[in-house]
Symmetry: C2
Subunit: 318 residues, 2 copies
């Protein structure tokens, strides 16, 4: 029985799964990403999460055939390093996450890009099955993209799929990346929170921060945005409407370049807001698609929140 | 001696070449694209241009191993049809350009997308040699894109590479395609001419139209723009500066998605304005590139004006 581990390392949470040969999830665990302790602290938390998932599956991590990690930042797959992970705490330079985890977990470890492994999982097991080309749109803290063309991942020189930084408005809003007018500057949850706070400080009424306090959250999570939208909160509605419009323009731009068969919407906000918002993004794309008579379908990631971790479990160690 | 014919069918001109097995151009001819007579008139003009190029090479078209056509619009390569060619006169429905030309030329005929064959030619014989991935940016009447990834053309569902319709400014200028805010709405020669005319009608001084009259041209050709820039014409300078800025944002967006090794600048304006403008576009891309520490080089198409026709000669008939 060849069990595998998979870990989705995000800026706010670590999701671990243990799956069997048929990719069925036998155990899972979720932990917050530590905000202190640097890369070593993150490695400790990952190991703890996978141990917990393994225990839930009735095994130890040493029993796993291998474990895969989907990581943000720049992944050096061969050396097992992660660098430039700006959403992770005190992550300076290239940290040998692979070797560090192999030591903690006693099983071979493979590293991949978080967004790309989630896209590969959807391609192999989820909404992309049967399609030769697809674009995964991961709408969460930022906006990431995973690309499959001709049945194979396209990663460019290691940095392809940065769809969040497609410019939708020259000289537009400041993006968390420091540039201007990126799609993420309007649609990413980090940017949305900043806009919401600024407008609230200027006196615009909103329940967003009240809901956050009630839930004991410092950050505006996807669930908080969803609740505010359900309540027809005017500020949340206005900002999400703009995000949808900008996602429409930016994702349509990507499709004018790539012309894929299907677009898969994942990420914290994408999965939480669901197919109704996938449909809204499709509508927002329509005015910008060059071949408007045959738009690609936009569907929510079938593996939902676990796609990243399941995708990571598909990574093969060198 | 296996000679081949190649034709670049453009909105304003038809370029024909006859090449040998080493891709050396033995004969060439250029004709204006007819503005009346519909598809049949265009087919007649193509045949006449290739006959002239063949005569210059000392052969007849029946002596050619085959001829390839790089065409705008949507190419049905198998049936040899061209449809949706909005820059060609009275081109309604799918016209069987391949069969019509085979009849006129007495040699097998293959059809391909104009921009893609020019990119393939640069990849095989020009500025892209030795590179595994590239984006061809064809800056002319419109702005087209040709994509090579992993050493192979990427055409999507037949419509990839429409980089001119990447949205650089949501709710921005009206594009000749009818949409708003496309890169082509600021950078394509058709859009530039429309802006120039509107501003000139409002009283902004420019020598653009004086130069055109002197040259006996109704349209503002690439040469006319180049001459006006040489003379530091304020209106031409302002509009081309904006075009460069928008090309910077739009091409950087494409590269944030694709992460290619090299960007090749072709098209009438691109080839005419040359490497100095390729450098300006690279500078304009810099603020928008997500991986700004390793920008792709931007180089002018090595095959220049003949790239499209030489690329078409590489097409193999079915």
């Amino acid at each position: 029985m060849a069990l595998r581990g998979g870990i989705d390392l995000g800026g706010t949470k670590i999701q671990a799964v243990v799956v069997d040969a048929e990719h069925v999830v036998l155990g899972q665990a979720r932990r917050p990403t530590p905000t202190t302790g640097g890369p070593a602290g993150v490695a400790d938390a990952i190991a703890a999460a996978l141990r917990e998932a393994a225990a839930a599956a009735g095994v130890e991590t040493a029993d796993l055939a291998h474990a895969g990690i989907g990581s943000p930042g720049t992944v050096g797959a061969a050396a097992g390093t992660v660098s430039s992970a700006r959403n992770l705490p005190d992550w300076a330079g290239a940290y040998p996450l692979g070797p560090e985890l192999r030591e903690r977990l006693h099983t071979p470890v493979a590293l991949g890009n978080d967004v790309q492994v989630a896209t590969d999982a959807e391609a192999a097991l989820g909404a992309g099955r049967g399609h030769d080309s697809m674009l995964g749109v991961f709408w969460g803290t930022g906006v990431g993209g995973g690309i499959v063309l001709g049945g194979r991942p396209w990663v460019g020189r290691g940095g392809a799929g940065e769809i969040g930084h497609v410019v939708v408005k020259v000289d537009g809003a400041r993006c968390p990346c420091g540039r201007r007018g990126c799609m993420e500057a309007y649609a990413g949850r980090a940017a949305l929170e900043r806009h919401a706070r600024a407008l609230h400080d200027k006196g615009e009424p909103t329940e967003l921060f009240k809901i956050a306090r009630k839930r004991g959250r410092e950050r505006l999570t996807s669930g908080i945005w969803a609740e505010a939208l359900d309540r027809q909160d005017p500020l949340a509605t206005k900002l999400i409407d703009r995000a949808v419009a900008m996602l429409g323009a930016g994702v349509a731009s990507c499709d004018n370049v790539l012309d894929v068969e299907i677009i898969i919407l994942g990420g914290g906000l994408g999965v939480r807001l669901g197919q109704a918002y996938a449909d809204r993004i499709a509508d927002a794309m329509a005015p910008h698609l060059f071949f408007s008579d045959r738009p690609p379908p936009v569907v929510v990631a079938a593996l939902g929140d676990l796609g990243g971790a399941i995708g990571a479990s598909l990574l093969a160690p060198a």
